[in-house]
């Protein structure tokens, strides 16, 4: 959750007329870079790690791999990296929803494979229009997810078991659909291929950065102004601008690097788009609030009049839909659907990325951006080890170590939150 943005800050000394009354017990954050640094240090010690460990990890990864192979930070490699993480990233975005409920979905790998199979069989073997085939593949994902959610919510079967059955069962359906073919090649020029082959000219990237920053500033300033008018604690302009600069740095840097190669890839944009939309849904809508509530305490949510079953079914539906979309991306990148699509490390990578990004396995804690951050970490490790021509075995071991570090950080920070009265879920 975005605790950071919620922490009220005083206007400091010399308060204006309608300055909010503040509780004297609340530590004030001084509106200056050193003040923010102090607040950050307080948050870290209190277990509000936020995105800090992941960003530190990313920097470390970048430094280590760059020193071992100077092509690691080249625009071409970074551009490929963003396309590579899109498929599993979409799956991670769905997993995050399920993790927020405090549940787990083990079937997403198989569902992405099933979706890939449906897509290829329809588009190639039956000659259906590729757009229709994409729609059908994603629709199959939605139906599968709703079925999982229904069995879990209405029949009370643990999600772990339902999706474990799904893991096996949907892989079976996938193999059945593929028939004797080990793999079905898709067209290299249609809409499916376009998903991962399209890059936008530089001006589009810059326009998107500008749009994002303007939207961010306008929305934050509107809210802070409303808070000021309502007599609530609000952030001073300087802090809002400081945050905007922090947001602008990775956006501008990222687009600048991607533009040095072919431009911003469509696949990455789709991934980031889903992350942003999901983040807004989770933080700004009633539906998102309900998801967090069910993850925090399903009994409390039920008593508050929330239809817990409906939330659970819908979340599993969304998770499988995003997994199916991930499957479409996998086909697009490989120009083919094979019997092994989605059957490899995708499931583990998606769950690991969510946890590495900072979403708690214990439910109710986390945010959509962990898909992006966790995906980047795992993608960077994969890409770096490939550059160094390391074996898959090494990649698995290193990924496992990173995952363990992330879980340990999660557990330790939970303890920190408990002792610093920030609430350990």
């Amino acid at each position: 959750m975005s605790q950071q943005t919620h922490v009220p800050h005083s206007a400091g000394e010399g308060q204006p007329e309608n300055a909010p009354r503040r509780d004297p017990r609340l530590l004030a954050t001084v509106a200056s870079p050193s003040g923010w640094l102090q607040a950050l240090r307080r948050n870290l010690r209190g277990g509000e790690l936020g995105a800090v460990p992941v960003i530190v990890g990313l920097l470390l990864i970048a430094i280590v791999f760059q020193s071992m192979n100077d092509r690691f930070l080249s625009p071409q490699n970074l551009s490929n990296l963003t396309v590579q993480i899109a498929a599993v990233g979409l799956m991670t975005t769905g997993v995050i929803m399920v993790l927020l409920l405090g549940e787990i979905d083990l079937s997403i790998g198989s569902v992405s494979g099933l979706s890939a199979g449906v897509l290829a069989v329809l588009a190639v073997r039956h000659g259906v229009s590729e757009w229709v085939a994409i729609g059908a593949a994603v629709g199959v994902g939605l139906l599968v997810g709703l079925l999982h959610g229904f069995i879990f919510a209405k029949m009370g079967v643990p999600a772990f078991v339902v999706t474990l059955a799904g893991l096996l069962g949907w892989q079976g359906v996938h193999l059945y659909l593929m028939g004797g073919d080990g793999s079905i090649n898709t067209s290299s020029s249609g809409p499916i291929a376009m998903l991962t082959q399209t890059y936008f000219v530089p001006v589009v990237g810059w326009f998107l950065v500008l749009l994002a920053l303007v939207l961010y500033l306008v929305s934050v300033l509107t809210v802070e102004r409303k808070r000021r008018l309502a007599g609530l604690p609000y952030k001073p302009l300087s802090e809002v601008l400081f945050r905007a600069v922090l947001l602008a740095l990775p956006l501008v840097g990222g687009v600048w690097i991607l533009n040095q190669y072919k431009g911003v890839p469509l696949a990455f944009l789709i991934f980031v788009g889903f992350v942003v939309v999901l983040d807004l849904v989770l933080r700004k809508t009633r539906y998102g609030r309900m998801v967090y509530a069910v993850g925090g305490s399903s009994e409390a949510a039920r008593r508050a009049g929330i239809n817990v079953d409906l939330i659970r079914i819908s979340v599993f539906g969304i998770a499988s839909t995003l997994a199916a979309l991930g499957g479409v991306m996998l086909v697009s990148r490989n120009f083919a659907a094979s019997v092994s699509t989605g059957g490899g490390a995708e499931l583990m990578m998606a769950i690991a990325a969510a946890v590495i990004g900072g979403t708690s396995l214990f439910g109710g804690r986390g945010n959509a951006y962990s898909a992006l951050l966790g995906g980047l970490v795992l993608g960077a490790i994969t890409s770096g080890l490939l550059l160094l021509q390391m074996d898959t075995s090494v990649r698995f071991m290193i990924t496992a170590a990173v995952l363990l570090i992330a879980v340990v950080l999660d557990a330790v920070s939970r303890r920190g939150r408990k002792t610093h009265a920030r609430g350990g879920a």
Binding site: G296, A300, R365, G423
Partner: protein
């Protein structure tokens, strides 16, 4: 007495082979505090859950709201009618902040359907101020709050829905002296605003302090309905425990005191 806002007649509830409630009648009027009393297992919680919609009643009885017969089959039904319930275990989401918990299931929205956090926080401040509650920040997860603070948040939450009947399950059980007084003040304020309050409590001091009427359940049946002002403590205890053969009368005979708890109501 004014007409009841909520009236139950002949309500029964069976859990498997256990008959938790048998033909229970109950009513509460606007501006009235009704204490619901009974020993452990007497059916108090079951009755509350029937009214709150958590456990729909068996067929046979009838529930009237403003003298119209209604069915309460789910918590949402009760909420829509205007019945708010604060359970003993509070039912707060530890991972949500105070504002999030206050408005859970009842969020204020902007036009396109997004949460109006500013309006919610403003109303939360207003509400907590009116209850003289001071909490450093409304944006901390409720897991970080003390027991009394959590109780206040739970009660405050029920008031946001503009209920007409508020049911409190052991609201003072875990509270300190000052916080208990605060909660009792709060109950009186609710009554003065014309709400019907149902108070479940084992604390007879609290009951005598704020309740107008005491409805006693025993073994899932009505065991008396007493106006507090004209009923003695012993009479109520006798109704709760059942017969003249109870620990209180045994003790009073043993100690030779002239307690009048021996009066058998039936």
């Amino acid at each position: 007495m004014s007409t009841p806002v909520l009236e139950l007649s002949g309500i029964s509830k069976t859990f498997g082979a256990v008959k938790a409630l048998t033909e229970v009648d109950f009513h509460v009027a606007p501006g009235e505090v009704v204490a619901l009393l009974g020993d452990n297992g007497a059916g108090k919680s079951t009755l509350v859950k029937v009214i709150a919609g958590a456990h729909p009643a068996d067929s046979g009885g009838a529930i009237y709201w403003d003298e119209q017969q209604v069915t309460i089959g789910a918590p949402a039904d009760a909420q829509r009618l205007g019945i708010a319930t604060i359970y003993q275990d509070l039912a707060l989401c530890d991972n949500l902040d105070i504002v999030g918990n206050l408005f859970l299931g009842n969020e204020r929205l902007h036009f396109p359907g997004t949460l109006d956090e500013v309006e919610m926080e403003r109303r939360a401040v207003e509400l907590l101020d009116s209850l003289s509650v001071s909490i450093p920040s409304l944006r901390v997860p409720v897991a970080a709050l003390s027991g009394g603070q959590r109780q206040i948040i739970a009660i405050a939450r029920s008031l946001l829905g503009q209920p007409r009947v508020v049911m409190l399950d052991e609201p003072t059980a875990a509270l300190g002296v000052a916080q208990t007084a605060q909660v009792l003040d709060l109950i009186e304020r609710l009554r003065d605003q014309g709400l019907g309050v149902v108070l479940i409590s084992h604390n007879m001091a609290d009951v005598r302090a704020v309740a107008d009427r005491a409805v006693v359940l025993r073994l899932g049946r009505n065991a008396g309905d007493f106006p507090i002002a004209t009923t003695s403590y012993e009479e109520i205890v006798a109704a709760i425990t059942g017969a003249s053969d109870n620990p209180v009368t045994r003790r009073s005979t043993r100690t030779g005191s002239s307690a009048t708890a021996t009066k058998d109501k039936e």
